[in-house]
């Protein structure tokens, strides 16, 4: 029996469809947080005073700063997409870079905030907390659980954005190795057969490596936009969740 090549699956390009898929995924993320919001709602209902007290121990200012950081990162994200849609790859890269920088600063602030709380012995299961009321234990459990889960999503989001940044920033490049002993003559022709360039290599080689750098055509860019849009959707969702976390943990009194 002879080898039969697997024909390539016809690449269907359906941006709306892939966005829909992404949205479905986002819905599952919303429901993931819904589970922990449910816990929050119940414990808040059971221990309103302690939650009030707990909220006052968090630094509203720090939370507000982080809120602004995330909101701004959402703005740069959406600008990055807008630039790419308009064909401005460089602008898109800059905006994406800004988004990542803002995301990182969010995490840095978060680390300091956590560090502060842990420094005061306020972390789940600490001896300090054991002396406090049940409600405060629940509040801090939720504080660390919710912001931790959110931070995890920020980290994943940053990873996705970093990949996108790499894709957009690098010049597309293709390298092929062709084995060919001895003297080699090279010629380059365009897709429709026009001759572009001719040349020969010196004496003894066991092959040649050909590298091409090229800029993306319309269709490839289009696919990048779809990818960037989906990455952006994820990033915005992380923002939306924070929009709810912030008042729930820092403000509601």
């Amino acid at each position: 029996m002879t080898a039969v090549a697997i024909p390539h699956i016809e690449e269907h390009h359906d941006p709306e469809g892939s966005r829909f898929g992404m949205w479905l995924f986002l819905l599952t993320e919303i429901l993931l947080f819904a589970g922990i919001f449910l816990l929050y709602a119940v414990y808040r209902y059971q221990f309103p005073e302690d939650f009030h007290y707990g909220a006052t121990t968090l630094h509203t200012l720090v939370g507000a700063i982080n809120t602004i950081i995330l909101l701004t990162s959402s703005l740069t994200m959406v600008l990055s997409i807008a630039k790419l849609v308009r064909g401005d790859r460089k602008g898109a890269v800059v905006m994406l870079g800004a988004t990542i920088a803002l995301g990182l600063s969010f995490l840095v602030v978060k680390i300091f905030e956590w560090g502060d709380k842990i420094g005061h012995g306020l972390f789940p299961g600490s001896e300090e907390l054991m002396e406090h009321t049940a409600g405060e234990n629940m509040f801090y459990g939720l504080y660390f659980g919710m912001t931790g889960l959110h931070a995890l999503h920020v980290i994943v989001g940053l990873g996705v954005l970093a990949v996108m940044l790499y894709r957009l920033a690098r010049k597309p490049r293709m390298t092929v190795r062709l084995p060919a002993p001895g003297n080699v003559a090279l010629s380059l022709a365009s897709g429709d057969g026009r001759k572009l360039w001719d040349g020969t290599a010196d004496a003894d080689v066991d092959g040649v490596e050909v590298s091409l750098t090229y800029s993306k055509n319309e269709e490839m860019l289009d696919k990048e936009v779809t990818r960037l849009e989906n990455a952006g959707l994820y990033w915005h969702l992380v923002d939306v969740i924070w929009i709810f976390l912030f008042p729930f943990l820092y403000l509601i009194t």
């Binding site: 090549a5 697997i6 898929g21 429901l31 589970g35 409600g135 939720l142 659980g145 889960l149």
Partner: protein
């Protein structure tokens, strides 16, 4: 051996063959072809199912007499936990959607693949990683988990066994499930072929579509619940720790918010299969197409409202107990509608008792018993007595095994010729069915009786009053497994030795019967255009 279909089209099984072992293996494990991914699932899921069965049999052996028979209590406790985890998360939830959904959903709507072929492969890898983790949890560190598949806190947080790994395994498997669901919903929305309107989709597709929505909307809840259990164990988060004000009952809420809808993830695809098989073997269009299609959505929706019926004795408020009880009674109605429509389809049909149809009959009978015992459990007064007894164990084996399990076998027998291009001999299947049916009822009906008499579940040992029942059940399990072995042997042999199958061995009407057996890569040479309902036959009304 070659499956070259007429017209020189190469079957999906043969593509990539002949270039040596490694290329061949790669052509499978890196495939993005939905049919091959279906086969990958078939092989992996069935392997784990075999392990689950083995564990089940070992438990039955232990329970044949009071006191220690072959294993100690720790081992027994791990056995039912791992049996439950494997059967639920590795066998029955992925089972039908991942195997037959992957294989047939695109074909049945006239598509060349699912919408996200690569994510589809990723979802299989998630399954494999989850499965490996589940196996690791058996052997690593503190010993196999011993919490029951429900992982109830506080016990699941206190025990020193490998709960964290097992829980993480379930989490990863949940991911696999979400990705499959996401893929199916998008595929159904975006890739139906020309003329394939919503109400011309086969009922199997409707079932899978409804299932996919449950997978999307329910699975995240178990994901976060399992994350919390892990955090609780690793970082002492305290959210469920009663000593610090946490509420163990909230854990039960979160767990069942997922796990009740999950039972419909298990049964809906099987109902879809039944809705395919009955029209085919009675040469008749389905009775009440729209009612069946809509009842799938109704089950998906109502299934979300009833989780509390697992917690009637937990100390939940009395108000919510009756609310959940009332809602639970309502969820039975769409199932009843389906059963009535199936039976009505047989009326004035031209019925051919192929093995697949026989297993469907088994399904209807056993699932009805399971469902009706479910109704008994939803009655508050009865539930208080039977909760956490063998009555429950009987109920869920009737619905899961008698329902989905038999449905799965029916699906194998029905679609085998299409998937492998070979026929399965009938006679051994009839015999196998006989054994399975008798063994099944001996095993599980006895459990119902034991449960009513007060035998609690998850019991390593029991008082002597219950001995007779346990002996009967154990003997039943042997007969059941004998039947299973006959069926499995027949099926496996047919993979290699079966007669070649024609494109349409049964006289089916849906699209998969219009392409060669086995189907070519990318399914259709030219995408079909649909002009009639899925079960339309000559003599029926024009669509």
């Amino acid at each position: 051996m070659s499956h070259d279909a007429p017209g020189g089209v190469v079957s999906y099984l043969d593509a990539g063959k002949g270039a040596g072992f490694w290329p061949w293996l790669k052509s499978w494990i890196f495939t993005v072809d939905h049919k091959r991914i279906g086969i990958l699932y078939l092989v992996t899921i069935m392997s784990f199912f075999a392990i689950g069965v083995l564990l089940g049999i070992t438990m039955r052996l232990e329970l044949i007499a009071p006191g220690k028979t072959i294993i100690g209590p720790d081992t027994y406790n791990s056995l039912f936990t791992v049996h439950g985890v494997i059967m639920i998360f590795l066998f029955i939830i992925p089972g039908l959607p991942a195997i037959f959904g992957n294989f047939f959903l695109p074909i049945q709507i006239g598509a060349r693949d699912v919408f996200f072929p690569r994510i589809n492969l990723l979802s299989w890898y998630c399954y494999v990683v989850g499965a490996i983790l589940a196996v690791v949890s058996l052997f690593a560190g503190g010993g196999a988990p011993d919490t029951g598949w429900t992982f109830y806190v506080p016990y699941a947080v206190r025990t020193t066994t490998n709960v964290t790994v097992a829980v993480f395994a379930a989490f990863v498997l949940g991911f696999s499930s979400i990705l499959t669901g996401l893929n199916f919903v998008t595929t159904v929305h975006r890739m139906r072929t020309k003329g394939m309107t919503w109400f011309r989709m086969p009922l199997n597709v409707w079932s899978l579509y409804a299932t996919a929505w449950i997978q999307l909307l329910a699975t995240p809840i178990i994901a976060v619940t399992l994350i919390l259990v892990m955090l609780e164990r690793m970082f002492n988060l305290g959210l469920f720790d009663p000593a610090r004000g946490g509420d163990p009952i909230l854990y039960q809420h979160l767990f069942w918010i997922y796990s009740h809808p999950a039972v419909y993830i298990m049964i809906l695809p099987a109902m879809g299969v039944v809705s395919e098989i009955i029209p085919t073997f009675s040469h008749k269009t389905i009775f009440g197409y729209r009612a069946i299609a809509m009842s799938s959505l109704a089950i998906a929706f109502l299934g979300y409202l009833v989780w509390g019926h697992h917690m009637f004795t937990s100390g939940m408020g009395d108000t919510s107990r009756w609310i959940f009880s009332l809602l639970t009674f309502l969820v039975a109605i769409p199932s009843a509608i389906k059963v009535f429509n199936w039976v009505a389809t047989l009326y004035k049909g031209s019925v051919q008792m192929e093995p697949a149809l026989l297993f469907v009959f088994g399904f209807i009978f056993l699932f009805s018993i399971g469902g009706l015992t479910g109704m008994m459990q939803s009655a508050l007064a009865v539930n208080i007595h039977v909760h956490d007894t063998y009555f429950i164990v009987g109920h869920f084996h009737y619905v899961m095994f008698g329902g989905t399990g038999f449905g799965l076998i029916a699906a194998v027998l029905y679609w085998f010729p299409k998937m492998f291009g070979r026929m399965i001999p009938r006679k051994p299947l009839y015999i196998g069915f006989g054994f399975m049916f008798v063994g099944f009822n001996l095993l599980y009906f006895t459990m119902l009786i034991l449960g009513w008499q007060g035998m609690p579940r998850r019991y390593y040992d029991y008082v002597p009053e219950f001995t007779t029942g346990h002996v009967i059940a154990t003997v039943g399990s042997w007969i059941l497994v004998a039947g299973l072995l006959i069926v499995a042997h027949t099926v496996l042999k047919a993979v290699i030795k079966g007669e070649p199958a024609p494109a349409d061995p049964w006289g089916g009407t849906t699209l998969e019967w219009k392409i060669p057996s086995p189907p070519p890569h990318e399914n259709f040479v030219e995408l079909p255009v649909i002009e009639a309902g899925p079960y339309h036959r000559p003599g029926g009304k024009t669509p």
